[in-house]
Symmetry: C2
Subunit: 153 residues, 2 copies
């Protein structure tokens, strides 16, 4: 019987870590379904993405190991998806260890072992991405200097 694996994720700024995860998940079965979180759902989760949903899902959809890419738009859909797609394995990365054990009543739940997660951290470091706190600090410094300058002009 065909073994269907399902996973859920954001896949923002697609990188080698994402690719390895998808390929590893595919190797657990015969078919891989990937649910990609929508922009609206991310907003609900207080999560900000750089790449729009349409682009994120399109890239995932075009990865060789991916058989089907669907949107993830709410917290409740995991059980629905497992049933509608006759899923055998719900697979996630190690960082979600034990977080989805409640799904074990529906299918096998596998957390992929820890791999060298170099991508996200080193990518962001190399990219020297300014995040909100950096910008806030810089603005604060700017305001301080401006007020000093104003006092002496």
């Amino acid at each position: 019987m065909k073994k269907t694996v399902i996973t859920y994720g954001t896949f923002d700024l697609f990188h080698i870590g994402h690719l390895n995860l998808l390929n590893n998940l595919k190797s657990l079965g015969d078919e891989l379904i990937v649910a990609v979180s929508t922009d609206e759902f991310n907003t609900l989760k207080g999560k900000k993405t750089i790449v729009p949903f349409e682009d994120r899902i399109e890239i995932v959809r075009n990865i060789k190991s991916v058989d089907l890419a669907i949107p993830e738009s709410d917290w409740q859909q995991k059980e629905k998806n497992i049933k509608e797609f006759n899923v055998s394995i719900f697979g996630m990365g190690h960082d979600w260890q034990n977080k989805f054990n409640d799904l074990k009543v529906f299918c096998e739940v596998i957390y992929l072992p820890r791999t060298e997660d170099v991508s996200s951290t080193s990518l962001k470091q190399k990219l020297k991405i300014l995040d909100r706190s950096h910008i806030t600090d810089l603005k604060h410094t700017l305001d301080l200097i401006s007020s000093i300058v104003e006092r002496f002009e």
Copy 2:
């Protein structure tokens, strides 16, 4: 007869623009070969990439429309590749318009029409990537402020 398309690129920070290019190139023929520039070759070209070669080629290799991914390591290999792979079409993005017309003696040369190139610019803007000039400016400002502070301490 099988129509082989070949293209050359860096594919740093893989995004939807890259994906669309590859899919459009594939639609021109039956088989798509993608030559991905090595880190050494990029250094030769004075080009800096964020993602290492091994990861860049691995992502490209795993795109559905790509049949073969090979390294690009020198300027001379295009003619060699066209002959060894019996290439019918050498395809590139519009930004290379007319730059490879000398290859027309070997095969068809197609420059894909201009599409909405939103990805690279908007991605870098959204990423708020600090480039070398930004860092130089910030360091310069820091030095100026430090020297003022020192004078008054």
